[in-house]
């Protein structure tokens, strides 16, 4: 069989899966394809997708980041505290992104300079950041934030019929796609994951590339946190628990190899859409939540099995 066609088909696998999913769910329930539900779906997907974009960079360097949910919670709590303290909410969102960069940067520094395995390093910071969130909030949600329409709109608003979180998602996607495909930094990200030795010989500053990937993921987690905080009009100390798994699942579903060096961010967007469509579609179809988890697990498993065949 023609090698090129096979390759193309494999690349299109996730997209075919997504389209198939759409057709099945639309066939079984006609309210699924209604415009208002598609908007609703995009709003729901955006949080996981934004985190997963960062996770793509990390996984491409053959790392992993388990601390995204904790970074989300801690940066949201700090942001909410600023807002309650009277800070302009838009400034607070930027401050929160800064906190995300710092927390993610710490991950990167520990991994790059400390030579700690990413799984262990981020497992540790996941626990530390979550603990810090609980200390900071005293275990209570921070509510009574603000009635500022811009902050409100960041999670709940629409511009020209599109939910603002979805716009944030598409804009981050375009920027990150450009960084990954069209810049030296992007090529270096692939190279580091492909082979550190070769990258070193080629003169790539490996540590910088790694720290960038983790700091970026931290920032994106914080932005996702700001969206959640705006949507729920409160910062929750338990926010983001388990989100690392959804983000990793989206990356893997999109065909990025956990071994690093191979994959693309377009796939991650599709992967996040598949997970979001499953969540939304199975709810609309009134499938018991117990079965929903089994379906999600099987889909991820099959995607990884499919990925293995590529190697």
């Amino acid at each position: 069989m023609n090698q090129n066609i096979t390759e193309t088909l494999k690349k299109l696998g996730p997209l075919i899966g997504l389209i198939a999913l759409f057709i099945i769910i639309a066939f079984m329930n006609d309210s699924f394809l209604e415009f208002s539900n598609l908007r609703n779906l995009l709003r729901q997907v955006s949080i996981n997708a934004i985190i997963a974009f960062g996770m793509t960079f990390v996984i491409l360097t053959s790392g992993i980041d388990l601390s995204v949910g904790s970074i989300l919670a801690l940066s949201s709590a700090i942001m909410a505290n600023f807002i309650v303290g009277g800070m302009n909410p838009e400034v607070a969102i930027l401050a929160s992104a800064g906190v995300g960069i710092i927390l993610g940067g710490i991950n990167g520094i520990v991994i790059a300079y400390g030579k700690v395995a990413p799984f262990i390093a981020t497992l540790a910071t996941m626990t530390i950041y979550r603990g810090a969130t609980l200390v900071f909030t005293d275990g209570n949600p921070i509510s009574g934030l603000t009635s500022d329409p811009l902050f409100h709109g960041f999670g709940q608003g629409d511009i020209a019929g599109l939910p603002v979180p979805a716009i944030t998602m598409f804009v981050s996607f375009l920027i990150l796609w450009f960084v990954l495909q069209k810049t030296t930094l992007g090529r270096q990200t692939y190279a580091v994951g492909g082979s550190e030795k070769v990258s070193y010989i080629a003169g790539i500053k490996i540590n910088r590339v790694k720290i960038f990937a983790y700091a970026l993921t931290g920032m994106l987690s914080a932005i996702a946190g700001a969206i959640i905080t705006s949507r729920l009009n409160s910062a929750q100390p338990t926010a983001g628990m388990g989100y690392e798994l959804d983000a990793i699942a989206a990356v893997v579903l999109g065909g990025t190899s956990l071994a690093g060096g191979r994959g693309h961010i377009v796939g991650t967007l599709i992967g996040a859409l598949i997970i979001g469509t499953l969540n939304n579609g199975l709810n609309i179809l009134d499938v018991s939540s117990f079965y929903q988890q089994i379906v999600k697990g099987i889909v991820i498993l099959l995607a990884v099995l499919g990925d293995r065949k590529k190697a």
Partner: protein, 300 residues
């Protein structure tokens, strides 16, 4: 490529099958009157499973269709779930919030669509609800303290094991307990164990170590009370332990004589009342805005 196609086909098949099973009685008539949407905080806890059972049974009894979504204790997932329910056209929404502050925006979203909301067990900070159905936690706390006074007498040295700090159940049960205890008991220790059995064990062990003369423990839920039983056992002490909730494990411990009592909530009754109320709302009847659900003291 053949293998890839097989994988895709398998995914489609699985989803089709599961979705088919789950929605066999769906019939596509979602937008008709009389569908109840029920968003439950978690099904990873027997209490809320009983609540869900109560909802399902009563809905079947009354011939109403009910769509159930499980937030898995994540307030953001609950916001998504409720958006999905509103999208699929339910006529009443029963919500058991993960968090009272976070649920407010979802309740307001339902208000904007003119879909009546009933909250169960936990309330919402903002937004309009037609009814709130919950156990009277303050009264339950008072019942627990009164039971200790009745059995062990005035001025008994007692320790209080609190739930998650700031949670409404913690506040209300603690408040009720102190309404009585501050007058007639001697509360020598007060520590949080986050409603968790293992933490309840550790915290009680520490308390019994520091205050060997404690005669009674009131835990804000049964899980922590069951932890306290283990602590008392390893310390070799006879302690009068009172829990809260009335879970199956706790009722068994009461029968075995290891747990003195539990203030039992009735989640299944709560679910039943929620559906009864929803049914009245659908018919356009007026309902009480606050519906307390009875608690009962379970002793041997």
């Amino acid at each position: 490529m053949k293998k890839l196609l097989t994988v895709i086909a398998a995914v489609i098949l699985v989803i089709g099958l599961v979705a088919g099973c789950g929605s066999s009685n769906n019939g596509g008539g979602d937008k008709k009157q009389g569908t109840i949407g029920f968003s439950v905080s978690t099904l990873n806890n027997p209490f809320f499973v009983s609540l869900k059972d109560g909802v399902e049974k009563q809905a079947k009894e009354l011939g109403l269709k009910v769509k159930i979504v499980d937030a898995q204790n994540d307030p953001a997932k609950q916001a998504n779930d409720i958006a999905d329910l509103l999208e699929s056209g339910v006529s009443v929404l029963i919500v058991n919030p993960v968090d009272s502050a976070a649920i407010a925006t979802s309740v307001e979203a339902a208000n904007a669509k003119n879909i009546p909301v009933i909250t169960v067990d936990r309330s919402t900070d903002k937004g309009k609800v037609v009814a709130h159905i919950a156990s009277d936690n303050v009264k339950g706390g008072e019942m627990a303290a009164q039971l200790i006074v009745d059995k062990l007498g005035n001025g008994t040295k007692v320790a209080e094991i609190e739930g998650i700090p700031g949670a409404s159940a913690t506040r209300e049960r603690g408040q009720g307990f102190h309404n009585v205890a501050d007058k007639s008991l001697d509360v020598v220790a007060k520590q949080s164990a986050d409603f968790d059995r293992t933490k309840g064990l550790n915290v009680s062990t520490n308390i019994l170590q520091a205050n060997p003369d404690v005669k009674a423990i009131f835990a804000h839920n049964d899980e922590m009370a069951l932890g306290a039983i283990q602590a008392a056992k390893s310390a070799g002490k006879q302690v009068f332990i009172v829990g809260f909730d009335g879970t199956a494990d706790a009722e068994k411990a009461v029968q075995d004589g290891t747990l003195a009592a539990t203030i039992a909530q009735q989640p299944e009754l709560m679910g039943k009342i929620a559906v009864d109320t929803a049914s009245k709302v659908i018919k356009g009847e007026t309902v009480e805005s606050k519906i307390p659900v009875e608690l009962k003291v379970v002793t041997k």
